[in-house]
Amino acid sequence: MRPSLRIALTGVTAGALVSVLASCSGSGSDAAGDGTVTITVSGRPPATNAAALKTFDARVAEFQKANPKIKIKTNEYQYDQQSFQTKVGGGTLETIVRVPLTEMSGLIKRRQIADLTADFKTLKHSEDFNDVALGPAKGVDGKLYGIPTEEYALGLVYNRDLFEKAGLDPDKPPASWSEVRTAAKAISEKTDATGYAQMTKENTGGWMLTAMAYSFGDSMQEQSGGKWANTFERPGSGAEKALKALKDMRWTDDSMGKNQLRNITDMEKDFSAGKIGMTIAGPSMVGHYIQQYKGDPKTIGLGAMPVDGTSKRTLAGGTIAVISPRATEQQREAAAKFIDFYYLSTKYDVGLAEKDAVVKKKDGAAIGVPTVPFYKPAIADPVQAAVDKQANVPIGNFAPYSSTLGDYELAIEPPVEAQNVYKALDSAVQAVLTRQDADPAEQLKKAAAQVKSQVERAQN
């Protein structure tokens, strides 16, 4: 073989790697002759977390006992983009996988997850489920493609110590973006920490900008004539106001530090190390801060999403359980039953909720971190009270968040091509934060031009 030919083939191998995934496939029938159905559940705690693993196994065994016709296999798989595609292609996707809210629109568009509209209706209290909480699991076609397992509203996470050092009141976090700016300036000037920081990498830049745009009372995409289109590039849009606010903090006040390339892990690490005064994030960051980074629970504070003007709007986050598109009808039914048992029953049954909180607390999990209630107040409120009794985090620190949560409209992600929109907006946010002469309006126009055809293509 001539060297040039050989090298050419080496090049092709790069592409071949991608398609190796597509080459393997296969799915076994999982209904045995005696009517037993087998499903695979991902997300088993790793062996390193022995206590949580024991609790998980016990719960699964309990389910098996109550449902002898359903056989549950478990594994430790947790969603990530690469392996999900590989598993779908190879036919090895678990029956139940939990995915972040942000991934739903892509998975629905590609029809890589099963339609659960009918299965959900058979579940207990399904008619009492909050429409707001169910929204992120719905497609633009109105069908339901997942069952929420945990949801939260994005808010302001802040370091109470740094607030005190900067002469700010840690019990009164900024409620508007102009107050955020003032507080950030104070923290930057009076401490070594960065006043305000924001994620910008791996699509989190667009994600956070969307949350900000919502908090300015705007949306990112609007529907007209049955089709969705981007609206964030309109003059005076929420996204533009958000970028201007960031620009002021970064360049006029110099209160955002120099490092502007952070993903969610970088942010959690730097925040836990006390290097950052404020950021917007989900309350799940509180759990990571306490469990993973061993942060002092007394130091972390949680405020509601800062707003501008009168309309209170914020972005929803969290995880949704989805079911493999290759699952049979029986498997889908069994999986929905398991999701109800494992994730939902502790949200509508007071006794189970309390028992669950007690066990998880013993396992070292953070109890008392505010979440979005799934059910109508008559069901959700007593459950919340029972869980709060077991709290091992200073609930008082989250009061600024929880006390106003009810006033907020919980908005969902841009319905079409959310991830691609976020990717394009990453660049816009990075431009404004790393280049002093970057113009917010111009950057948004550029991002919109970049994803316009993708958003259109996705709806054909």
Partner: protein
């Protein structure tokens, strides 16, 4: 490779290539005296009909050769060639990996070529290759010559030079990411001592790519140094002795003896480097995720994003196929252009 069937050229005109070709075809039939003017002697006992040839092939161990080769061929066919064929096929299809794929003709290619990010990625990749060439190509060569010239401690420096290669790529990339931190990073702290900086490193569109090239050069130069050192060992010592007798200084020795002796190796290392840099992925993926403002987005990262972020395997394979074609053409042009030089 096809055996040279052309009539033997007059001895004076023979190039070196012809001689090597002849040496390589060292099987019995080629060793026989040729008959350049007439038809082949079919009556020769060695030629024979197809049956005789087959028997001779079996006797010479042909079957064993195939049996030994088979596992390797099957492995390559199943894990490499078959996926290559499939990826070409996939580039004309649209699939969600669940339902059967549908044929979409050239749609994927059109979609990729319409993507404004493609040209940005092409430009970035070319910039990376150019910077890597300017910085990453001479450094190992220079170090290899330097280490070879050392009278003492050669082994120590070899080990030191190779050490970065022994560190897993992602680890060294993460390490450098910490070094590049604009606030408290090692580089800015060190440079501050001599009154330089602070530099933005990865935080600016102007310096992000350069920072990545520096890391990639550091992480990769070790293996190249070792290869050059090995090649240096084969340069005949008499040449240097002769040069020293002629009072040639070190630079003249390097310029007139070392570099010309190494040109075959240099040529192939350069080609490998160009191909390697055009496929750069790990460094920008881990360090910057293509940012800031897509200034470090490379072609391979775009392929990755198509496949895994968008789940668009059609677009991903279409771009892969295009990349492979471009690399193949580039390699062919390169080898043709440097053919005379390498001999």
């Amino acid at each position: 490779m096809s055996r040279s069937q052309a009539p033997a050229a007059p001895a004076g005109n023979r190039t070196q290539k012809d001689r090597t070709r002849k040496q390589r075809s060292a099987d019995p039939s080629a060793a026989r005296p040729r008959t350049p003017d007439g038809p082949p002697r079919t009556a020769s006992p060695h030629r024979g009909g197809p049956v005789e040839r087959f028997v001779r092939w079996v006797r010479q161990g042909g079957v064993t050769t195939i049996l030994f080769g088979l596992p390797m061929v099957l492995c390559f066919a199943y894990f490499s060639w078959w996926p290559i064929v499939q990826s070409v096929q996939l580039s004309f299809q649209q699939t969600n990996l669940v339902d059967p794929a549908t044929w979409v003709g050239l749609d994927n290619f059109r979609h990729v070529l319409d993507d404004p990010l493609l040209w940005k990625a092409v430009k970035n990749t070319a910039l990376f290759a150019a910077l890597a060439l300017v910085i990453g190509f001479p450094v190992p060569l220079f170090l290899a010559v330097l280490i070879a010239e050392l009278r003492r401690g050669g082994t120590l420096f070899r080990v030191l030079a190779y050490l970065p290669v022994a560190i897993p790529p992602v680890v060294s990339v993460l390490l450098w990411k910490v070094f590049y931190d604009p606030d408290a990073g090692l580089f800015n702290q060190l440079l501050a001592h001599v009154g330089l900086g602070p530099y933005p490193w990865l935080q600016s569109t102007d310096t992000a790519m350069l920072s990545i090239v520096l890391e990639a050069t550091w992480a990769g130069f070790g293996s190249t140094v070792i290869i050059y050192l090995a090649a240096l060992g084969s340069v005949p010592g008499e040449l240097y002795e002769a040069a020293e007798i002629d009072a040639a200084g070190i630079w003249r020795r390097v310029w007139h003896i070392t570099l010309p002796s190494l040109r075959g190796v240099i040529l192939i290392m350069l080609l490998l480097q160009i191909i390697g840099t055009l496929q750069i992925f790990t460094e920008p993926f881990v360090m910057t995720d293509g940012g800031p403002e897509d200034s470090t987005l490379t072609i391979l990262m775009l392929i990755y994003n198509y496949a895994f972020q968008n789940g668009d395997f059609g677009a991903a394979t279409a771009l892969s196929v295009m990349l492979a074609l471009v690399l193949g053409v580039l390699s062919a042009i390169y080898l043709r252009a440097t053919r005379s030089w390498s001999n």
